[in-house]
């Protein structure tokens, strides 16, 4: 069961991993620096499988993919928020960090026990004993997620055409597995 780490609105990438700490591609180092100034106790206390539940526009600011790597390396595999900043959202999909848009994320309390089924977009808050509705991933994101990330999609298809072709807007062709996340 995942435990929820609550964050507020407009958590930016400088808060996830300050610029001073992203002069490395080592996921272990980035994981240790995750939220190092914004929430110093996080890296030591977060457990594998925990969940970040945040407010509006999570991941706004710089394009640094180190933010997604840091979160994945800290052991978190999913972020639930009403909305995400554009570049962070892409980076997360590309690396297999589950990003679930959920208008009801704000109701989740710090430390709540959460059961997460990314494939079905089902989130159950066991502490509050209720289900939270999460929007299914858009089709292009599902296609990428099914491969566990965009690099694997390109490897399989030889190009990006797998994102979109034969035509975006058609029905998804299977369930989306929980992706393991890609580490450098």
């Amino acid at each position: 069961m995942a435990r929820a780490w609550r964050f507020g609105d407009f958590v930016n990438t400088d808060q996830i991993i300050p610029g001073r700490y992203n002069v490395t591609t080592s996921s272990a180092e980035l994981g240790r620096a995750c939220f190092i100034e914004h929430r110093p106790e996080y890296a030591a206390q977060v457990r594998p499988g925990d969940l970040i539940v945040a407010g509006e526009d999570f991941g706004c600011g710089s394009s640094r993919e180190h933010a997604v790597i840091a979160i994945l390396a800290s052991g978190v595999t999913a972020v639930l928020a009403p909305s995400f900043a554009r570049i962070f959202y892409r980076n997360a999909i590309n690396r297999g960090l589950a990003v679930l848009e959920s208008p009801g994320a704000g109701a989740v309390q710090e430390g709540s026990e959460i059961e997460l089924d990314v494939a079905r977009g089902r989130v159950i808050d066991h502490t509050a004993n209720r289900e939270i509705v999460a929007r299914p991933l858009p089709l292009f994101a599902q296609r990428i997620a099914r491969h566990g990330g965009v690099l694997e999609l390109v490897r399989v298809h030889g190009s990006l055409n797998g994102v979109c072709l034969p035509a975006c807007g058609s029905a998804p062709d299977g369930p989306v597995p929980l992706s393991p996340g890609r580490m450098p």
């Binding site: 400088d14 808060q15 610029g19 690099l151 450098p184």
Partner: protein, 411 residues
């Protein structure tokens, strides 16, 4: 028929596309810098692919250059190896990517540009569809020569009138961001339209496009025109693929009267917390920084020099030209001498202290007035430090007194 974003992407794809469609589009320029190239290289290696079109690649050292730490130096070594191994002809070390790409003629109107830096949107000032992405997306763009994106809907910013004296593009964009909100243009293109937009010089257009991302925007855009052509002339850029909006359907239009603007400041730690400077005049300031991809151009240094000429700054003040070209022009025009005589530390071109890594890091509880685009908590140093965003004029005026100052009394 469409917005400028739709027209540029349609022209590049050779078929009409509209907002909401997901497309795979050829990319004309792929950019990464000293902090993002190592991850890009790892992505390519993981993919087992080489750069498909090395001539379209540009690697820029701007974030921590010259290297301030061993880690930064090591990262730059890896980036140099990548450039040399992949045969990328453009390794630029003479300034901020968003400034030096156009200076080197590497961007043309109608281009699709993908950069591993969120402020890549700055290049929309040249009528290019330029957007920031993460390192993996950029690795894919290097490997395949393409990128996927959803054609964005467009927020039109209609500009009317003229700036009053002492008020400029930075004050305007701080007001735009205040009104639209830091996520008010999420996933959208921000297109600047109207007669007042067409009259703005390229530097102002860059400032306005640069901060489109501070509203969540995917791109900032100006239609290329005669000013664009003149600016790029002699720089060896490719022939433009000129596109303009035709009977566009905007998601919404926000109108701004330039005559009614006044000097603005965005209060730490929110970019959209803009307030008129006059409401906060006298606020103590520990450091002033003039520079960055938002406001490190010749006109910005000139504005600071006018205010500081024959005077002395009261607090530590750092000025960083956006590029070597800007640095040299400011040197020749005498601006740098004026700044140095006023007590300003003039640093070598690059991002400077914007990322809190060197050349003016903030200590606990310190407050900076800067011409940057972001005032996130701790960005320039200690998490308890504060960043107030302002125009070069307001920053220079504040440097003189060590307190937030309205430049209109001094101009």
């Amino acid at each position: 028929m469409g917005t400028l974003a739709e027209e540029i992407l349609s022209a590049r794809l050779g078929r009409a596309v509209a907002a909401g469609e997901t497309v795979v589009v050829p990319v004309d320029v792929v950019m990464s810098h000293d902090t993002t190239t190592a991850l890009v290289a790892e992505g390519l290696a993981e993919l087992g692919r080489a750069v498909a079109h090395p001539e379209r690649g540009v690697v820029v050292f701007d974030h921590i250059t010259p290297a301030a730490t061993v880690a930064a130096a090591a990262q730059q070594q890896r980036a140099r190896e990548f450039v040399s191994h992949q045969g990328i002809p453009h390794l630029l070390t003479d300034g901020i990517s968003h400034q030096v790409l156009p200076e080197h003629g590497l961007v043309a109107p109608g281009d699709v540009v993908v950069g591993a830096d969120s402020h890549t949107v700055t290049l929309g000032a040249f009528g290019a569809f330029a957007t920031g992405m993460g390192s993996t997306d950029v690795a894919v763009a290097y490997a395949t020569g393409e990128s996927w994106l959803r054609v964005p809907a467009t927020l039109a910013i209609q500009l009317e009138g003229r700036f009053p004296s002492g008020v400029g593009a930075k004050d305007l964009i701080l007001e735009v961001v205040r009104r639209v909100g830091s996520d008010g243009a999420r996933y959208q293109a921000v297109e600047y339209v109207g007669p007042a937009a067409a009259a703005l010089p390229i530097g102002d257009r860059m400032t306005l496009c640069n901060m489109a991302v501070e509203m969540g925007g995917k791109a900032g855009l100006f239609a290329a025109d005669r000013l664009t052509t003149q600016w790029l002339e002699g720089r060896g850029s490719r022939p433009p693929r000129v596109a303009r909006a035709r009977a566009p359907e905007y998601l919404r239009v926000e109108t701004f009267q330039l005559d009614r603007l006044e000097p603005m400041v965005a209060i730490s730690p929110r970019v959209d917390a803009g307030r008129p400077v006059r409401e906060l005049v006298g606020l103590p300031v520990d450091q002033v920084f003039i520079g960055t991809c938002t406001n490190g151009r010749l006109s910005d240094l000139a504005a600071a020099a006018v205010l500081l000429a024959g005077r002395r700054v009261a607090v530590r003040t750092v000025a960083v030209p956006a590029s070597r070209e800007v640095y040299l022009a400011a040197l020749r025009a005498g601006y740098l001498e004026t700044l140095v005589q006023a007590g300003v530390s003039v640093e070598s071109p690059g991002c400077g202290p914007c990322l809190g890594r060197h050349k003016g890091v903030l200590g606990p509880g310190e407050r900076a007035v800067t011409t940057m685009s972001r005032n996130f908590r701790g960005r320039m140093g200690d998490p308890s430090s504060e960043i107030y965003l302002a125009s070069p004029e307001t920053a220079a005026a504040s440097a003189l007194s060590g307190r937030l100052a309205d430049p209109r009394g001094l101009v």
